[in-house]
């Protein structure tokens, strides 16, 4: 059985973890950084993902995609309010958002797949083995379409997704494992783009989710937005610059807002400086100012907490421990609101950025058959039902039902000889169809018989991933009927297959981009090192040699901006050749110095 990794595919950052001798570990890059920004940039030479793409955000915002998780499993109407903030152009096809970047069109699962591939590559490099199986986390409050989209993303990235697991429950696994906790715990998970609250009972290795609730459109991004709005307005007043018309400046201001917010979790005051074409925008912010801007958003998390408590049949004081997850819980305001609600100090010993990925690795270990002690019993976050007469939803599976679960419903005909019945599947808590989420439609085939005689039983099964499966059976003949479900906001199987094929093409482009980035990094390192060497050794070499070295490093400085890694490599080789003598001279000098200092020290003895 090959290794299964755990992936936290976040709105702002993503992480990958594995099980190392019974303990989950997050995989770092060579510099020791574990978080990969969930940002994808399209350059002329292909894709860049993570930190390089974040740098790309202010240079080429219209070709840099961030917060793609907000679009997963959604239609354009779902995100209409925030459209104005995104620098790239969006449209909708077959109920699925499409992102237009540099003349190409991508679906959100395709973009997420690019991030997943980067994580996969990192793990493969670190573990020195192929990775093909993963557990991926999603917000607990994700609906069926959003979960399916995440699964699609995994497939496009060449990963078999063995399980979609809820982020707060994943966190509880990592937390419970370490703390050996028993009792009732609440996981408060406020990330970059989503909020979840889950209440669990931990007993003898069983992690039973009692209730979950949340908001898939509330997170740290929204906090940044509040700050950004203030900056944009002030810049317009003070500098007469309309930031909305400059996507690159908009992203620079947005990043400045994010950094200021992060700093104010530790400090009480900070100054924001943004370079504008006609001067500098400076603003001093206090923690109180930021808190007053976001307090309404933070308070919006409290109603889902109360709803979850009610569904679990518990009072706030019956919660034994409260655990904080997600970067946004670093904010002191969030902590104090949570503490007030539950009447106890929340735990935050585990790194709130990493705990979800760690939990995913624990779940991967369970699925791999290596851990038989722990079992997670999760729930479906939303009620599932079908449309009935008068546009009313009839619930078949209630929210917070433990999964897997199934419900059967019998269908018949209203007219003699009727050969089909249309069925519309919904998810949500409201009474009317129009207020709930349309998941899918399908047509049930009926034998041509007098009205009311046919009896076809449909089974709606929600699996352990929280994903719906529909099967049908004719009761009279006991014959199974194949059901072709058409998702309202999802990709068809054919589309996913096409995207898997496309991803191979992207892979080639990726390799080229990676080579350019690596060559560029090396070139810059050599330039810096040579400059340093020149200043140290200027007295040791001739002016002519010095001028020649300066010429080649200047030349390399120009070539490294290009997009052909072979040209950059050639430039590096030339610098290496020209500095060969310089290196020798320096080496001698250093040796001499070392010898002399040794003599001195011996003399002192």
């Amino acid at each position: 059985m090959s290794r299964i990794v755990g992936i936290d595919l976040g709105t702002t950052n993503s992480l990958i973890a594995y099980m190392d001798k019974g303990a989950p570990r997050v995989i770092p890059n060579p510099d020791g950084v574990t978080k990969i920004p969930s940002i994808v940039g399209m350059t002329d030479n292909g894709l860049i993902v993570g930190d390089p793409a974040k740098a790309h955000l202010t240079r080429d915002p219209s070709r840099t995609i961030y917060s793609v998780k907000r679009f997963m499993g959604r239609g354009l109407a779902d995100v209409s309010e925030e459209l104005k903030y995104f620098p790239y152009s969006l449209h909708e096809k077959n109920g699925v958002i499409r992102i237009e970047v540099g003349g190409k069109t991508y679906s959100p699962p395709q973009v997420s797949a690019m991030i997943l591939k980067e994580l996969k590559r990192r793990a493969e490099e670190f573990l020195k083995e192929d990775i093909s199986k993963a557990v991926i986390t999603v917000p607990a409050y994700f609906n069926d379409s959003q979960r399916q989209a995440t699964k699609d993303a995994g497939m496009i990235a060449g990963l078999e997704v063995l399980r979609i697991i809820n982020e707060p429950t994943a966190a509880s696994l990592a937390y419970g494992l370490q703390k050996k906790t028993q009792g009732i715990i609440a996981i408060y998970d406020l990330g970059g783009g989503t909020f979840d609250i889950s209440i669990l009972k931990l007993k003898d290795g069983i992690f039973e989710v009692l209730a979950t609730n949340g908001d898939t459109h509330l997170g740290g991004d929204d906090f940044d937005q509040r700050l950004l709005d203030v900056f944009v307005e002030e810049i317009a007043e003070q500098h007469a610059v309309k930031i909305q018309e400059h996507p690159d400046l908009m992203q620079a201001v947005r990043l400045a807002a994010e950094r200021a917010k992060v700093r104010l979790s530790d400090e009480r005051e900070t100054t924001v400086v943004v370079e504008l074409p006609n001067g500098k925008y400076e603003k001093t912010l206090t923690r109180e100012i930021v808190e007053s801007l976001v307090v309404e958003l933070v308070e919006r998390t409290l109603a889902p907490c109360q709803a979850a408590l009610k569904d679990a049949g518990l009072r706030a004081d019956q919660i034994d421990e409260v655990v904080l997850v997600g970067g946004s819980t670093r904010m002191p305001l969030v902590r104090s609101k949570v503490e007030n609600l539950f009447g106890k100090k929340p735990h935050s010993e585990l790194n709130p950025d990493e705990v979800v990925a760690l939990g995913a690795a624990v779940q991967a270990d369970i699925l791999g058959g290596h851990n038989k002690e722990i079992l997670l019993l999760d729930v479906t976050p939303l009620s599932l039902g079908i449309e009935t007469m008068g546009g009313v939803m009839s619930a078949l599976i209630r929210r917070n039902t433990t999964i897997p679960t199934s419900a059967k419903e019998m269908f018949t005909t209203y007219v003699d000889g009727q050969t089909s019945v249309d069925i519309h599947i919904l998810q949500g808590e409201r009474e009317l169809v129009k207020d709930n989420r349309s998941l899918a439609r399908f047509q049930l085939k009926m034998p041509p018989l007098p009205a009311g005689v046919p009896r076809v039983e449909v089974t709606f099964l929600i699996d352990a991933n929280g994903i719906l499966h529909v099967t049908a059976r004719d009761i009279r003949t006991s014959e199974a009927q194949s059901v072709q479900v058409k998702p309202s906001h999802g990709l068809t199987d054919d589309e996913v297959e096409g995207m898997i094929r496309d991803s191979f093409q992207f892979a080639e482009e990726d390799i080229n981009t990676r080579q350019v980035i690596e060559a560029r990094t090396e070139a810059n390192a050599i330039i810096v090192a040579t400059d340093k060497a020149l200043s140290r050794a200027s007295a040791l070499i001739s002016d002519k040699e010095k001028a020649e070295i300066q010429r080649v490093i200047q030349q390399l400085g120009e070539t490294q901006k290009g997009e052909d890694h072979r040209v950059i490599r050639a430039g590096i080789a030339e610098v290496e050749k020209e500095t060969h003598h310089l290196a020798e001279v320096l080496m001698d000098a250093t040796l001499k110095e070392a010898l002399e200092s040794k003599k001195v020290s011996e003399f002192v003895k």
């Binding site: 019993l377 679960t405 199934s406 352990a464």
Partner: protein, 225 residues
């Protein structure tokens, strides 16, 4: 429990849920009811701790997490068994759902939803409905004192209905004991059946009154906000 052949190795299944020969998980019998799934008789008083313990134990036997590396047939069986187990636990855990399920098993009766109020509450409910009508008719800006007074009255009524609901649930619990006693007696089968049917009918009566009251209380809550 009568057992069939293993779907995989065709040997007789001697173990309870797993084949003794090839240790493959077996699909739960189609005839198995929720009580039998938990190795319980059809009794209404259930020890919640014990129920949870059995649920956890059976979850460890059936949950798909433990079949991730197995073949497709075993995965499908584990999924089906697990879904059945979860429905069984949810139903038996809740005293109201439990008795509704028992009535369905024993009497084959579908839940009857009554459209008329219980006889002893007839006049009270009638007045309540009129008051709700009036309340809805009053616009929220004008007639503020009249509206506030009416709201208070309706809220008092809701409290009253909730008290009634609690009384009904208490009455139901006494019936649970009656039922369990009859189940545990080894009396003349035909006579026992008669008595049991009587208890089932009276429980059903209480249940449908309770449902009516619950719906009414919810409607009141929605109206007054």
């Amino acid at each position: 429990m009568a057992r069939s052949m293993c779907w995989h190795c065709q040997s007789e299944v001697t173990g309870e849920y797993l084949c003794g020969q090839c240790v493959k998980v077996q699909p739960l019998s189609k005839e198995l009811d929720y009580f039998a799934c938990f190795k319980l008789g059809r009794l209404l008083n259930i020890d919640a701790q014990e129920l949870e313990r059995t649920y956890y134990e059976l979850s460890r036997t059936f949950h798909p997490d433990f079949y991730s590396t197995k073949d497709e047939s075993e995965k499908t069986i584990s999924l089906g068994n697990s879904a059945f187990l979860n429905s069984a636990y949810r139903t038996l855990k809740d005293p109201i759902q439990r008795v509704e399920y028992l009535i369905r098993l024993e009497a084959g009766a579908v839940k009857d939803i009554r459209s008329n109020p219980p006889a002893d509450l007839f006049e009270e409910i009638l007045e309540l409905q009129e008051d709700m009508e009036t309340f809805r008719g009053l616009s929220s800006e004008k007639d503020s004192t009249e509206r506030a007074e009416l709201r208070q009255k309706l809220q008092r009524e809701r409290g009253h209905l909730e008290e009634r609901q609690e009384e009904m649930e208490k009455a139901l619990l006494t019936k649970y004991h009656e039922w369990d006693q009859l189940q545990n007696q080894h009396a003349d089968p035909s006579k026992a059946r008669e008595q049991k049917d009587l208890v089932l009918r009276s429980m059903q009566e209480i249940l449908s009154n309770r449902t009516y009251i619950c719906n009414m209380a919810n409607e009141l809550l929605e109206t007054t906000g």
